[in-house]
Symmetry: C2
Subunit: 129 residues, 2 copies
DNA sequence: TGTAAAACGATAATTATTCCTATTTTTATA
DNA sequence: TATAAAAATAGGAATAATTATCGTTTTACA
């Protein structure tokens, strides 16, 4: 993989913000430094960075993906009203968090824990090759 | 809200499966009983059912939403290889689950806990009206 | 510096989802 | 049961997010 200033700029912007921006928001910002950058380049590099593990993709179900350069273990709170994604300290107990919805965050209507990986049956198929 | 056989059929199918199907998969199935049903009807009813809290929407980031009629507290495991979503017992400790990736599930590369609700600043704005 | 591989910009294409409208179904009630 | 208003539908057009294509530009390195 070769260096690219556009990719560097995307990463830099993502590391500088806590806003969990969408591809389009990232595009608008990076455009200030690279006015000719195309949205396709933003998408291509985001996919790359996610695959490299340098960026996390956050799927809220609001119709567009959010991105986060903070790859440390932490969770998120999504407001279905303003569509913002906020950071949460990782809290040990799911039940505790559910009970603690009065902690000043807002209401908690849905708590969803999603694990992503490669399942046993896919691992088996892959090892057969 | 009025009764509709199409909506009933969608709910029935969702309750009968543990596959966490996408709108299109649901459409293909319900079409067997209602050959003239349209995809728009499936989407409209899924949105309705989610808003009523009778169905959960699961966003995996694979480009399309998954749906689940099991609204009991539970988590999911998503295989980025076969794109299937599997049920997980709710486990009290996130760290425990992370450590337990050898439990026969497969690999766990990402664990993301997402809370959805209405945040404090949106609640404040709403109460001003 | 020259060249091959990688990345880019512009834009077309694709896919998931929502919107629109005339028609049909449902429900309440006479 | 007939009827009329409200709600839902089918079909298709429209939209929005994302991916693919392809000729041009950058990057790496001999």
């Amino acid at each position: 993989m070769n260096y690219s200033r556009q990719r560097e700029s995307i990463k830099e912007y993502l590391m500088s913000t806590k806003e969990h921006p969408t591809a389009d928001v990232i595009y608008q910002h990076v455009k200030e430094a690279y006015p000719k950058i195309s949205l396709g380049t933003v998408y291509r590099n985001l996919t790359l960075l996610v695959d490299l593990g340098e960026v996390r993709k956050i799927s809220t179900g609001d119709g567009t993906e959010h991105y986060d350069a903070d790859t440390s273990a932490h969770s998120h709170y999504y407001c279905r009203c303003c569509h913002r994604v906020m950071d949460l300290e990782v809290t040990p107990s799911v039940d505790q968090i559910l009970a603690a919805s009065s902690a000043g965050l807002g209401t908690i209507e849905i708590a969803n824990l999603l694990f992503t990986g490669v399942c046993q049956s896919c691992l088996n198929e892959q090892s057969q090759k």
